[in-house]
Point group: C2
Chain length 189, copies 2
């Protein structure tokens, strides 16, 4: 949590009339998290700060982590959750971790320190009902007017899509893992 | 072109059995180039080299360029073309630039120096028939077995999709520019 208490190193120099967008990357295709990473790095390229919260531990590996390290003056990365899936044995533990992650997200959004807050793989928490959607949407709707929030993950609930400004579906047209080619460095991880 | 003659700073340490993928990001939605940028940075995070060729000059702005600068030991960025669109007044000039860009792409792919070669917005050259598709596909099919190539842009021709290993369509579900919100720093550029 220390990251949230650091002094602001770059301020949003945009007009106060700028509208913060709620952006969703969903669908069963690749590129949801990768495009979020690209957007985070692009934002950092402007010298603006990003809070990137991964809600599924282990979904990122060496390549992303090393890439983000070069931007540690602009990007604060937090890893929540406890494995590749939220469909684990202990529902209570999952709910506890989901609430903890959401509390961190709320704090980051409220802090006013970030141009962009990314909630990576967050949709699963809503889809698997680890969190109630209504209070989440209410919180997002009440955020500062210029705060951009980007949420990724499959199965984005309809209510989230309705609340969003920008929604992209990454749709699989063709996938090599289906033709038996193994996951590869830089491409899949 | 100097970049292509530099000594190799990081080699692909993967097994020679790795299959180089032909990857396409197409569709009318956002995230095609952004996901390519994310993949380039992830690859660079592994210490592997990337050649990123932009086929539409001016489509990148400050944020991406500054982000990529932090990886100038791993990512060689080339900007081809001459404006935001290839539908310009001078067809001859467009064809000349398209051929020049494709020649550079071929050289990068042939060089064996890059884990990943990105041809950003390349589909437009095929769609607007600035280049013939058959020799392009033939060249791509004959590349080194482990060479990954990522092509982005709308209107990916069917023959290119058929030749590809991994195709993702970025589909617009909702877009803020349609609701009158202006393009914003870090989000759109």
């Amino acid at each position: 949590m220390a990251a949230l208490q650091r002094p602001i190193r770059s301020r949003n120099k945009e007009s106060p009339m700028t509208k913060g967008l709620l952006i969703i990357h969903t669908g069963d295709g690749k590129g949801k998290t990768t495009a979020a990473l690209g957007m985070a790095l692009r934002t950092a390229g402007h010298g603006l700060r990003v809070c990137f919260i991964q809600f599924i531990k282990g979904s990122w590996r060496y390549g992303e982590l090393e890439a983000v390290k070069r931007f540690d003056d602009c990007i604060d990365l937090h890893v929540m959750g406890r494995g590749f899936t939220w469909k684990s044995e202990s529902l209570e533990e999952d709910i506890r971790l989901a609430r903890e992650g959401w509390a961190l997200a709320c704090q980051a959004i409220d802090s006013g320190q970030y141009h962009l807050v990314v909630l990576d793989e967050f949709t699963y928490l809503l889809h698997y009902r680890m969190l109630e959607i209504a209070p989440c949407l209410e919180f997002l709707a009440s955020r500062r007017a210029e705060q951009h929030v980007l949420i990724t993950g499959r199965y984005a609930p309809q209510a989230l899509i309705e609340a969003a400004d920008l929604v992209t579906e990454m749709r699989v047209v063709k996938h090599p893992l289906k033709s038996g080619i193994k996951a590869q460095k830089g491409i899949e991880f």
